[in-house]
Subunit: 317 residues, 2 copies
């Protein structure tokens, strides 16, 4: 199989690329390196089935050209920054919604019909039902990021119905592990590097979030693609637990052998549009036989170890 992976130089994308290459597939990475890192492709570059294209998903001509001969698309290129949507209102629309439209158009032009998409648990907004299943009550969006991913899901589903595509839509919790490049673990690690005696948390620290280890995430993706037979396959991916941000701060500090004083921004949300409690109901993917191997605490510790061994990542972000 020939896979094209948009955002293939990013955190999740590059890990998927390694897995696909190990399985003997051809892989084209399509990445503009706005947040992707060439270093993440160092192993992949050694494989004979690997091809790298530096290109932007907003460039439909290039995308269409590179889609020739592809069998399956992993569309991971995106703005993944949930927090700053209100400061750059156009970014989510362009990089998430319009980019997804372009990927679908390039596929249609080339007769490519299968796509996997990185959506997000953020599209549930502040859900009425927790843990939140895939068929939860129709949610109201609370962030431009969530809205842009919802729009991406809608486009993919409509192309499945209209053009006989098959879609795999993954609503992720936050992913942790090797090649992690943004989020609270990195923020906390960086703060403690600067000042090991104090750690500032957004919100009151009681926000409850769910996390998933990257290798568990990839195993789940592969399980769904192997077993999901629907036209549109929508799956939550997460663990069955949530942790308070405050707990995470303690685990990170403890693992680094530090006992910083915690200070808090206050309020129940970390930022405008932040959901104070994210916990996805993952029974649907578990029913396919998948279970995560790492707990949230283990995934956090593993991420700290990764950052400690790869401090160059901190300098780039």
């Amino acid at each position: 199989m020939h896979y094209l992976v948009t955002g293939g130089a990013g955190f999740i994308g590059s890990n998927v690329v390694n897995t696909l290459l190990q399985q003997g597939h051809l892989v084209t990475v399509y990445d503009n390196f706005s947040t992707g890192m060439p270093e993440f492709l160092a192993d992949a570059q050694q494989a004979s089935g690997f091809r790298l294209v530096e290109g932007d998903t907003l460039d439909l001509t290039s995308l269409t050209h590179e889609m020739q001969g592809v069998d399956f698309v992993f569309h991971f290129a995106a703005n993944a920054d949930v927090r700053h949507g209100t400061e750059q209102t156009r970014r989510d629309l362009e990089q998430n919604t319009i980019a997804t439209f372009n990927v679908l158009e390039a596929m249609r032009e080339n007769g490519v019909k299968r796509i996997a998409f990185s959506s997000t648990g953020s599209i549930y907004g502040e859900p009425e039902m927790i843990p939140t299943p895939e068929n939860a009550p129709f949610p109201v969006q609370t962030s431009l990021y969530g809205a842009s991913k919802l729009a991406g899901e809608g486009l993919i589903s409509a192309y499945c119905e209209g053009f006989g595509f098959q879609g795999y839509i993954f609503r992720f919790v936050s992913i942790l592990g090797e090649r992690y490049t943004h989020g609270h673990v990195l923020d906390f690690y960086r703060q403690l590097q600067t000042n090991p005696h104090e750690l500032h948390l957004l919100g009151d620290g009681h926000q409850r979030k769910s996390y998933l280890y990257i290798q568990d995430c990839i195993a789940a993706i592969q399980t769904v693609i192997e077993k999901g037979q629907d036209k549109v396959n929508i799956y939550n991916l997460g663990t069955d637990e949530a942790c308070e941000i405050k707990d995470s701060a303690h685990w990170i500090a403890e693992h680094l052998g530090l006992t910083p004083k915690l200070t808090f921004g206050g309020g129940t949300r970390g930022w405008i549009g932040d959901s104070p409690f994210i916990l996805l109901d993952c029974q649907k993917v578990r029913a396919l036989g998948w279970t995560p191997k790492l707990t949230i605490k283990e995934a956090i510790v593993c991420t700290v170890d990764y950052l400690r061994a790869n401090e160059w990542v901190l300098e780039r972000r």
Copy 2:
């Protein structure tokens, strides 16, 4: 109050404009006349509070300029053609999703914070729950039109959360009545004009759809805006009945004194992405005290009368 109505020369828009002017408000119509009709503004032109701007919602500069001093936006400009999304894939994205983003940006730039939006029952796709309430299980999109309106809803909700906007989102069934310019009643009327002895229906004729009379629609919109106090107010607007397309064909023919032979395209859907059964649960808007005055049959008959008295509309479309 100063209202700006995008798509104010269209079917629903121009009727809302008349109502607002009769209530003594200032009204700016912003329309590119791609489907809007100058004739629909003939009455409005007589009112001193009326202002017409010929402009496109894809022109953010113009939209931002014209939004100055506005208190409230009715955003009705859209591609309203549900059927041909797969032939012109970019149209719904541009005219519905990106246009809605532009309207929100123009509002933000000018400190305008209240918006009413014409969404659609099509965003429920092929719903599991019928009648379908606003908080039905998270739907899967089946048309590019539905996907583009879903994206518009998401953007509006995110701006409400992020920028303190107040939004009124209306999920319409098909609207009928004076100034109706596209849909099955017009198609059937036109066919019977050409050949009174035969009428061709898409699908098997058993598709069940719901309709609402334009003046009932406007009364519902005004009730919700007056009484809806939430940040994001989402309301289905329809009658509590559905009719088969075949029934509608009989009523139309009967009212015209004709007995055409019916022929059928076959299949349970009229086109790709068509929902075979649309019936919205409208208890939420009814709880505010609104009830429709016309039945579906009455609304269809009234629409036929309108077309008979305004055959120039048929020539334009």
